[in-house]
Assembly symmetry: C2
Homo-oligomer: 436 residues x 2
């Protein structure tokens, strides 16, 4: 990995390491728009055509409804156990986030304001295909939906070359009680869930990562008031920032860098070393090289590492400032007393704290969600969480005493804004109560 040093290299050079590649969203939009419109207009027929075209699979029916046949979820006992353990940890962590109680506050005498969560009724979980179908994403999207109490969970996942769904995906669909699985990927799958078709139910919100086409389609439908469909967040290539010091095990650091690198050649991998000597950093590079050699995806990994950087800084403050400026999707802390530094993190998707917390634990089984903001969007977006599948409604009860507390204020402000009927709605009540 190319090395930079805050004392030896210019600020511009360092800044360049932390720059993300520019995304050309307009071009993609022009490709995606006709696909989305085709599905919106022609429904299942379009979906089957597009799946034949893009996935080279001819299907009879683009959707599979529950109950799912046992034959479609044949998985090994080990994998079943792995899914069950992950499911349970994700459930526990997202259940803990679930705000079940109504929050009620008397803001002033006789004015009671409340706030409570309600599930989003129908949700779509997009499980990407590509280099590998990811059953883990199925868990990350549908378990919080289950915890939130969504009434209808719809999956979409591209079929394999044999026209079949990944059995692990079907098993999770069964476990969470998903209503159906749309056998499609890309923009066409997003459109099918956003607008619905003859048989596919229209959903209220679509969650899940995906390539540029999926992201563009999600943006399109979320901006179309005819779709009436929200999305979780914009998605971009995955990324990791590792902060390491001399107490870090070079093998562990290397393994974390590589597990990000194998996601794809457009993944971003950044290592910030704090007060480490050249020799200490060399050990990490050697470990990266050695571990990469035995990986099946060694070619992807090599291409990714070629545009990855090591940045040497002297202090933890510098490291965390740099990390906060970058706002990484994944932040790994391989430093002494790592837990005490979590407070310094202002922007990140998810943090992996200490030697024995590799990113892959969070990707699968620790309980945190792996659908996280990328491309710097961690500055303003949260990862997928229980509230992603809910909305919050407020309510207020104002008593006659309450009108005494705030009635005049309401009338005065309505007058300033020239909204006489607003003023009158309070005035008429206060008059009948004999207050004015």
């Amino acid at each position: 990995m190319e090395r930079f040093n805050v004392k030896k290299n210019s600020k511009q050079a360092i800044a360049k390491c932390l720059e993300r590649p520019i995304q050309k969203s307009a071009d993609i939009m022009n490709l995606v728009k006709p696909i989305v419109e085709k599905v919106q207009n022609e429904g299942n027929k379009a979906l089957l055509e597009l799946t034949a075209k893009f996935d080279r699979v001819t299907l009879e029916d683009p959707v599979l409804f529950a109950p799912y046949p046992e034959s479609m979820m044949q998985i090994t006992p080990d994998i079943k156990k792995a899914i069950d353990i992950s499911f349970e940890n994700i459930r526990i962590f997202h259940e803990a986030q679930n705000q079940k109680d109504t929050l009620t506050v008397e803001t002033c005498p006789g004015v009671k304001c409340s706030r409570f969560a309600r599930p989003i009724e129908k949700v779509g979980c997009y499980i990407p295909g590509g280099t590998a179908v990811l059953p883990s994403t199925t868990l990350m999207l549908s378990v919080p939906a289950l915890v939130a109490g969504c009434k209808e969970i719809v999956f979409a996942s591209p079929p394999g070359k044999d026209g079949k769904l990944t059995p692990e995906v079907v098993y999770v669909a069964h476990k969470v009680g998903a209503k159906c699985i749309v056998l499609a990927g890309g923009a066409q799958a997003v459109a099918a869930m956003a607008y619905g078709t003859e048989t596919i139910p229209k959903v209220d919100k679509i969650m899940g990562p995906g390539n540029q086409f999926v992201t563009a389609a999600k943006m399109l439908v979320s901006n179309d008031s005819n779709a009436m469909c929200a999305i979780d967040m914009p998605a971009g290539p995955s990324e990791v920032l590792v902060i390491a010091d001399k107490f870090a095990d070079p093998d562990f650091v290397a393994s974390d860098l590589l597990s990000q690198a194998e996601h794809g050649i457009d993944s971003q991998v950044i290592l910030i070393t704090v007060g480490m000597t050249r020799e200490e950093i060399d050990k990490i590079d050697v470990a990266v090289h050695e571990q990469a050699l035995v990986l099946p995806r060694v070619d992807i990994v090599r291409q990714c590492i070629a545009h990855s950087y090591t940045i040497e800084v002297d202090t933890y403050e510098e490291a965390f400032k740099m990390s906060n400026d970058y706002a990484p999707e994944h932040l790994i802390l391989q430093i002494e007393d790592a837990e005490s530094y979590v407070d310094k993190v202002d922007h990140a998707g998810s943090i992996f704290v200490g030697s024995y917390s590799p990113e892959s634990c969070g990707d699968y089984s620790s309980g945190t969600n792996h659908t996280l903001p990328t491309y710097g969007y961690a500055r303003m977006y949260s990862g997928v969480n229980t509230a992603t599948f809910q909305k919050f409604i407020t309510s207020q009860v104002v008593t006659p005493l309450g009108l005494q507390s705030i009635g005049k204020a309401v009338m005065d402000l309505a007058e300033v804004e020239g909204l006489d009927a607003h003023r009158n709605a309070v005035k008429i009540r206060m008059e009948k109560l004999g207050y004015i």
Copy 2:
């Protein structure tokens, strides 16, 4: 108001009452795009030109920085008190929502998952102009930002014909410590905050209602990864749905219908009456007529009421089903024992419960937020709240014991997904620990 009855009119006719007018977003987008690009490319110069063109005001400088001169916030003691009361109630309710503590759960032995809030650093509050500048919106956007701990609050509000800002807006900017006020409205104000200019700071997220141009600009910038700017939600014309029964005071119901109607001719006003006689409903119509006569905005109100509907139903169940299908921005319950019905609400922005809780209380002073989802988006969006100004970061600490708990599951799932480096990151640790 035109009347429909679920027993006498067809389902189609009833459904038509609850239909929202179709929004043509593509046309607006084409108008807004060059405006946004002009500000992005030319900064303050473009902003001044566009304000001269659209607001017919020639300014020297498009931005006013704190500290704000006393002379610009001259307001009456009554208005100052009204703002202070509203400010405090909004602060109390949004402070109660503020999740300050880190949530920590041990999902299984040795695996500790946490979640905590961080403020979004720089936020933009858009305060619309139009028929009236609304100081109340200033409060609704900036008080939660203050509670959330945002470091930089930027206001944007179109100047009046005299080139001056509404003094109430400046007073609130002073109270919340806003860094500056952009003297502009429309798409150009959104662009200035999203991209920043020579002097206007770029923000991370833009909140606030606005007309179609503002909404289109918000959507544009939220989809542009060069802007890196989130938005609160899509906005549409304001709307109210009132459920009334024979226990409702016809004068109160009329005043609530009218206070929505005066917002604009595109406002939607729907009244659902439960088991009321023709004569009882007549009384509401008479009250609407009489109250409207004395309103300064009587013309707007009349045009709005002309396309508003009364729908007669027999049961509360029917009323709430209809309301949930419509998903109103504002839901007013003028029925006996109204509080007991809040549980039946699945989709709404904010609920106004009982005889003495007119919508205008929530618009100004009760403490709930008045920036709410419209156009049916209450199905999946929350109104503006404290979390709108925050994002949540997760973190995890896995100990050696934790790796024993989940290590095998992680490795098995990584293998299924063909992600060998992910598997290796756990394997290498478990080997060094002597677990495998």
